[in-house]
Amino acid sequence: MTAESKSIQSLPGEVKSEKGREWGKIALIAAVVTYLAMVLLLPTLYVFIGAFSRGIGPFFATLIDPDFTQALRLTAMAVGIAVPFNVVFGLCAAWVIARRRFRGRTLLLSIIDLPFSISPIVAGLMLVSLYGRNGLLGPLLQSLDIRIIFSFPGIALATMLGGMPFVAREVIPVLEEVGTQEEEAAKTLGAGEWQTFWRVTLPSIRWALLYGIILTTARAMGEYGAIAVVSSNLIGRTQTLTLYVEGAYRNYDSQSAFAASVVLAGLAGVTLVIKEVFERRIRIKDEEV
């Protein structure tokens, strides 16, 4: 078959193949939309339907239920501790990885990623084997009368562990991209380390940092498996929001479970919106360049 015969053949077939491509496109879009609807959209939509299934009254009744408010308070406390720690750590780790060349740099990067691939249950188990009553530090902690597992510090540690990589992950590429020129210029002009960081480095990484904070907050609020291991799950005492959701659901109180889920899903929505804004800004910046 020569090239000539092919082009002649394709002439009358052109319209048909163009039409076929259009149909293929529509079919593919329909398939993808169906898949996402089945897996993502309908289940997420149902969170809201489930919460208001018996009207708006029961929804608010859940929100003022003392067990719920206590769980909300505990989650807020865990988030309030874990997120600042993870932000400071993430900034330091990002700086070390992006600004220093040393042996084991890729290893450090992989270690920071580790919490992404460890099962939350294994993460909880790890904390128990270190800080638990029969753990490695158990005797020491007992003699100091410090309780970590089955109490709040354990929940905080589990929350820190799950959200650890996000800030570093988001900030590293930006730090690498902006380079060191401006920082060096600032230092040459007499700025100190802190001044350089606040005035030069921080402004250039602020969106990546913000996005990292949002992600680590979302993860911290949603932390479940690791907390289920290290918490005694006492209603009203060591029960976080996710444990409350599970508990209510298992007690056939699905309305309360979904009402609490709406609070958690609301944050997920905020996360997605901020991510959109963040990415749009990057796109605009790219286009300017």
């Binding site: 092919k6 593919l28 879009i29 993808v32 898949y35 996402l36 897996v39 993502l40 959209l41 309908l42 997420t44 149902y46 969170v47 489930g50 330091c92 780790a93 070390v96 060349r101 890729t106 270690i111 990623d113 580790l114 992404f116 691939s117 460890i118 099962s119 939350p120 249950i121 294994v122 993460a123 188990l125 790890m126 904390l127 084997s129 270190l130 753990g135 490695l136 540690l157 820190m160 562990l161 650890m164 380390e193 992600l215 949603g222 932390e223 498996g225 289920a228 291991v229 996710t242 444990l243 959701v245 599970e246 659901y249 699905s254 889920s261 958690l264 997920a268 996360t271 997605l272 991510k275």
Partner: protein, 283 residues
């Protein structure tokens, strides 16, 4: 290298360098140790206190073996679905224009943002016999909630973003003119797809699929709520570890937990190797 050398000749540089060196380094190492490294070592040390025979007996107990089988089988199934559907989704999002495309693009990240416990209860309800989707499947004899299929649905849900988000940027960078060149040289649409479009995407697809698989293997929250958690039927390994802990069987939990930890280390290594391969491909 040369830059840092010339820098250190200026009089104030060594002090600053030391100062800059110690604080972020100190924070990084201390925090990593307390939160991650020491706990990991503690688990491995605890596993090492078991005799090898004991460890082997606990880690390969029949119920443990069945959970590995179910975990990996189902996670592989979920990863395969996401491999195909994720690539198709990335393609649709990059190449086609249609209404609500931006919304669709945004919801891909939902599984990262939505807590797994929430995902678990809503999937269990929607796929239950009276649920929105389940009620259509029940007449066909398909039960999802409280079966192994439910485990698969949960694993698909939580790993949706991985393949889409790794393939999307590569597809965006892909030069459209190469495809046109292939067409104009007489390649059919399938040929263009297989021989021109797909090869540069393969490293990204594999990376995303491995990440999805790793995430699915470790999943707990959504699966524990949608599955019946019955041994030999739909019990997965992380949930078995949790059950062992609840029974106060620390040795059993440690053995199976260590197996899971080692597997996630291997998968992490695989992702890193794939990413290195990808970068070489790009370069």
């Amino acid at each position: 290298m040369t830059v840092s050398k010339t820098q250190s000749t200026s009089p104030s540089a060594p002090k600053n360098w030391l100062k800059g060196f110690s604080l972020p380094w100190g924070v990084t190492i201390t925090y990593l140790s307390i939160v991650l490294l020491l706990p990991v070592s503690a688990l491995i040390l605890r596993a090492a206190t078991l005799s090898p025979a004991e460890f082997w007996r606990l880690a390969t107990a029949p119920v443990a073996l069945s959970t590995y089988n179910i975990t990996f089988g189902t996670a592989l199934f979920a990863a395969a679905i996401n491999c195909v559907a994720g690539t198709a989704t990335a393609w649709v999002l990059v190449r086609y224009e249609f209404p609500f495309k931006r919304v669709l693009d945004a919801v891909i990240d939902l599984p990262f943002a939505l807590p797994t416990a929430v995902a678990g209860i809503t999937l269990a309800t929607v796929y239950s016999e009276q649920g929105w989707i389940g009620s259509f499947l029940t007449p066909l004899g398909i039960r999802v909630s409280f079966t192994r299929l439910g485990v698969a649905v949960a694993m698909v849900f939580i790993s949706v973003p991985f393949v889409v988000r790794t393939v999307q940027p590569v597809l965006q960078e892909l030069d459209y003119t190469i495809e046109e060149a292939a067409w104009s040289l007489g390649a059919s649409r399938w040929e263009t797809c297989w021989r021109v479009v797909l090869p540069p995407l393969i490293p990204a697809i594999l990376t995303g699929t491995t990440q999805a698989f790793a995430r699915a293997v470790g999943e707990y929250g959504s699966v524990v709520l949608i599955a019946a958690n019955i041994p030999y039927q739909d019990l997965i390994a992380p949930i078995l570890v949790f059950q062992r802990l609840e029974e106060n069987d620390m040795a059993g939990a440690t053995a199976i937990g260590t197996v899971l930890l080692l597997i996630s280390l291997v998968l992490l290594l695989m992702v890193n190797v794939l990413q290195a391969w990808r970068q070489r491909y790009d370069g």
